[in-house]
Symmetry: C2
Subunit: 375 residues, 2 copies
């Protein structure tokens, strides 16, 4: 049985409505995965996450291998028992954090030596280790170990990164030894379309369970991202899930779905929530702002989240003002629900064969695009 079943294909763009089947259940795609870096989405219980409508959660291999270590996660019964999250999970390979969180990185053909950002301890990761660790953590979907390019990056350097990512993907696949887990390859290549093509073709030959597009949402901007995504997705096998890593703002997600992407993850809803920035259809609401001091309005009228049904902006502003944990918790809950509602609207438009039109409307809507302001 195929683990990815397309329910509906949009007639006017590359978007598709599908169902992804994993060892811990099905995921309706396009889907958004909240990020539980160290095993928890910050401030949110798995129960709350499930109520928000999340169907799959991401955890970071890099963080977990440092603390509590893969041995401890194993002794605690694996990632699901450890986190208390019973639905599908995905782990990244650790590659991204190795490059983004550490200054002391030594990279060669075999792998990467780095100093832990926690205590400076020398650590090592390569394709085999990253795959073994993910096999042991036990997520439903695991990722190949790849090299992440800096941005900007010249073509010569990017070519080397792409070639190495291809060789590491092959080694990751060979090392993969847990057949309950799907293994995804990661296409690198920055915004260089021919390098993206080359990388994608080589990975497709290796026949992965799914394909991710890495190395975007790093500063290239919405247009470059959308163009690279749709060009790359177009080459990828139709019958396999496609995952755009680390994206992004609502408009990025809509454009990427249009380009044929099925899966997303991003820290924005939870991180912005902790900082009192709330997503709404009409733009970002900054809840520390004094204008909300005596407002009984919910963050977003009509939102069905626990926060909007029970709290006015004035209370939330007060919680941030006095340092009550409930402020970050409530706005994170709202933002995570906002993202799940966005994905539900996308899936709904796809089911009604109205997605391309709906997406274009959204993407040119001024007030919606205000929500894209950097925050």
């Amino acid at each position: 049985m195929n683990h990815f079943e397309i329910v509906n294909k949009d007639k006017n763009c590359a978007a598709r409505r599908a169902v992804l089947t994993t060892a811990h259940g099905k995921v309706q795609t396009p889907t958004f995965m909240p990020v539980g870096t160290a095993g928890a989405v910050k401030g949110i219980t798995p129960q709350q996450l499930e109520k928000i409508g999340a169907e799959i959660m991401l955890a970071n291999t890099y963080h977990l291998m440092l603390r509590p270590t893969v041995e401890v996660v194993e002794k605690l019964g694996g990632l699901h028992k450890f986190t208390g999250w019973k639905k599908p999970m995905l782990t990244d390979s650790g590659g991204y954090q190795v490059f983004s969180l550490n200054s002391l990185v030594k990279i060669d053909e075999d792998g990467v030596e780095f100093a832990s950002h926690v205590d400076g301890k020398k650590m090592y990761l390569n394709a085999e280790l990253a795959t073994q660790i993910q096999n042991r953590l036990g997520a439903d979907i695991i990722m190949c170990f790849d090299q992440c390019a800096p941005f900007p990056c010249n073509d010569c350097e990017m070519e080397k990164i792409v070639q190495r990512t291809i060789r590491w993907a092959k080694r990751s696949k060979e090392a993969h030894a847990n057949n309950k887990q799907l293994l995804f390859g990661i296409v690198q290549g920055g915004i260089n379309l021919s390098l993206r093509e080359e990388c994608a073709e080589k990975l497709i030959e290796m026949d992965f369970d799914g394909y991710a597009i890495g190395g975007l949402s790093v500063g290239e901007g919405h247009e470059n991202m959308a163009k690279t995504v749709s060009h790359t997705a177009d080459i990828l096998p139709k019958q396999k899930p496609r995952y755009l890593m680390g994206a992004g703002m609502p408009a990025d997600i809509i454009a990427a779905v249009k380009g044929g992407i099925d899966m997303f993850d991003c820290v924005l809803p939870s991180r912005n929530g902790r900082n009192a920035f709330a997503f709404t259809e009409n733009g970002i609401v900054r809840l520390r702002n004094n204008v909300h001091i005596d407002s009984r309005e919910p963050i977003e009228a009509g939102c069905d989240c626990y926060c909007c049904r029970n709290f006015g902006r004035g209370t939330i502003r007060h919680f941030f003002n006095v340092g009550e944990m409930l402020g970050p918790i409530l706005v994170s809950l709202h933002n995570l629900r906002f993202y799940q509602r966005l994905m539900a609207k996308i899936r709904n438009a796809l089911e009604k064969n109205e997605f391309a039109e709906w997406a274009d409307e959204k993407l040119k809507n001024d007030s919606f695009n205000k929500a894209q302001d950097k925050c």
Copy 2:
């Protein structure tokens, strides 16, 4: 109709099982009120609090009058709309915090001048102001403005404090202007039993809706507390609720119920939860302890709280170790549920006419008393 209906009176001690009726619903007593200092029990949503079994929540007048101010709470629709808590609420008068949180306190017969602990701003409270503020906040039960004694305190000074507390109680009653709210008098007098008697008698003449015992749990120790409570409660009217303010450890609560107390509040379950100290029948579990690193055991076997049903000690230890908010949230949830389970056991024993025996068993049980270790 009487707002306090005794369902069952223990034959072998002063304990009683009763129902307290307020404008926002009924409360089964003996009851424990979680403390939502600034309008929220730290890290816990009202929904979670309700699921834990809490029926009444306390909020602090002092904190709310400083931030967001009574005007703002009023504009936000009053305490219930403001906090998102739909069940009964109680506010203290602000007196305790005025004395405990501020060094620059000037007290005279009229009231107390103090500097806000937030920004040093000069503030003033007296019986009329504290009552008016509580009338406007809109809790279901409000408290008289009293003077809190330091501990230790000599009899001469305590006598003055008791007399002033009596005069302030009279002024609080005269100022009270919201007939949806029950007003409780507060008996002061430290561990001086004749001063307690004097204070109680004068307050009883004023006919309050309920009576609190203040000025305990301040360092006098379990035996002194239990003795003072039972002596004082014995004088108080049988048909009115009795509230022991700020207590306490589980053994304090059991002893006080035995002495005839119906209501309790304390920050211990939430504060200890934030600090990784968990209450169990077998004593305090310190969750930062390395011994829990790979433990899949719940905090307390058989506990029905969300934390114990879904997380092992190893995960909780990890959350504290990496600074994940979920650590404090989960242990607070457990501790708050532990207190609600304790109250449910007390009520159950009372209903079965087994309370005095059950309480004595508990109070002499070694492993239970380990839970009384200072933490």
